[in-house]
Symmetry: C2
Subunit: 221 residues, 2 copies
């Protein structure tokens, strides 16, 4: 058993905010094992490919994301239980990715095997250990929310402070105090005023903000 052969895959927890809830992109399987079950998008790692490149390839393929477009992408955890795939010994390096709703909504509309499902209410059993992976991704996201500019990956380039607060509330499941949240965000230095305002509101339009340059530069490409 000096070095037994393994298959190495990446699985992706592609998340966004849909209808005010943190949701994950799932794909209905057409083949055994777990035919007809929902599963995370994923694939085998190429023999000359880094783990991160494999993950980016899946994001681009499934989300229809342009190759240069930015998203938050981060390695999550590696799942390697001998029983997790009945076909062969597979080690899956799970990643999580965050995208604005518009990008994933387009992908779901264009392909009938894709669905956006709230992470706290998956609705049915998933294939493999994918429910466990999603729970781990949600935990990690909650943990990073306060000390990392991770939430902005779920918003378009321009957003209001109310939008940002809704994202935080969707991820944590807690309602937040408006003035406190506003000041906390402004104090981080992560966002900048643009002077622009939203339009088509039946009431006073909120100011639009954008991510500060130094924060945007730190995001995964």
């Amino acid at each position: 058993m000096s070095h037994p052969p393994f298959a190495v895959t990446v699985d992706l927890v592609l998340m966004t905010i849909a209808d005010g809830r943190l949701s994950v992109l799932l794909q209905r399987r057409s083949e055994e094992p777990f035919a007809d079950r929902l599963a995370l998008p994923g694939g085998f790692v190429g023999i000359e490919e880094t783990l991160g490149d494999a993950a980016r390839r899946i994001v681009i393929g499934k989300a229809g994301l342009a190759a240069g477009a930015s998203a938050w992408l981060e390695q999550l955890y590696t799942f390697g239980d001998p029983q997790r795939d009945p076909r062969m010994r597979t080690v899956s390096v799970a990643h999580f990715a965050l995208l604005p709703h518009a990008v994933l909504a387009r992908a779901v509309l264009s392909r009938s095997d894709l669905a956006l499902v709230p992470v706290t209410d998956l609705g049915e059993p998933l294939a493999f250990d994918h429910a466990t992976i999603i729970a781990a991704a949600h935990e990690r996201l909650k943990g990073k929310l306060d000390y990392s500019p991770v939430a902005f990956a779920l918003l378009p380039d321009l957003f209001t402070l109310r939008d940002l607060q809704s994202v935080h509330e969707a991820i944590t499941g807690k309602t937040l105090n408006k003035p406190a949240f506003r000041r906390r965000m402004l104090d981080t230095g992560w966002i900048e005023r643009t002077g622009q305002r939203e339009s088509d509101t039946p009431f006073r339009p909120a100011e639009l903000y954008k991510i500060s340059v130094q924060v945007a530069d730190g995001r995964a490409g």
Copy 2:
């Protein structure tokens, strides 16, 4: 390239406090590649073995730890760059483990190829990408220190508050205020008084504390 074969290994960042510094157990390699370089202990994952079991096997083998003894063991990150091992395509699931100094000191004395080296001053280039892995382990440990009872794994069953403070200072590299640290620790509920006191001190002996049961139960076996 449907599912190319990979070798899957675990590498272990086995850490302890030695001479007041956070240190890592390294092994001098006798074979190519990187012959004569220091490297992390590690090994191939068995075909019927979980990743955690493989990591525990390495800890027991290298640290001479009794199979039932407790240690902190946690998956860290997976390194899979195609160039990281010149022999073959290898994916390494890095783990970090924490042990009391007495355990690792015994291992180092019994085997001439092992060494305990301060993590912030490795002293020489390491094999593979192991210096990167150690840096990641140190970062993770620093990040968990305040919200997780991780530091107790580096101490014997009974310890003084001064011992605990020294551990925190060794990990973070910062000196801490004694009364503030003491109260912060007592407020966490992680530790309990024992009523016992240290002996053989040339001055007033400090009280010995132990980990609360519910915290100890949560530790990895």
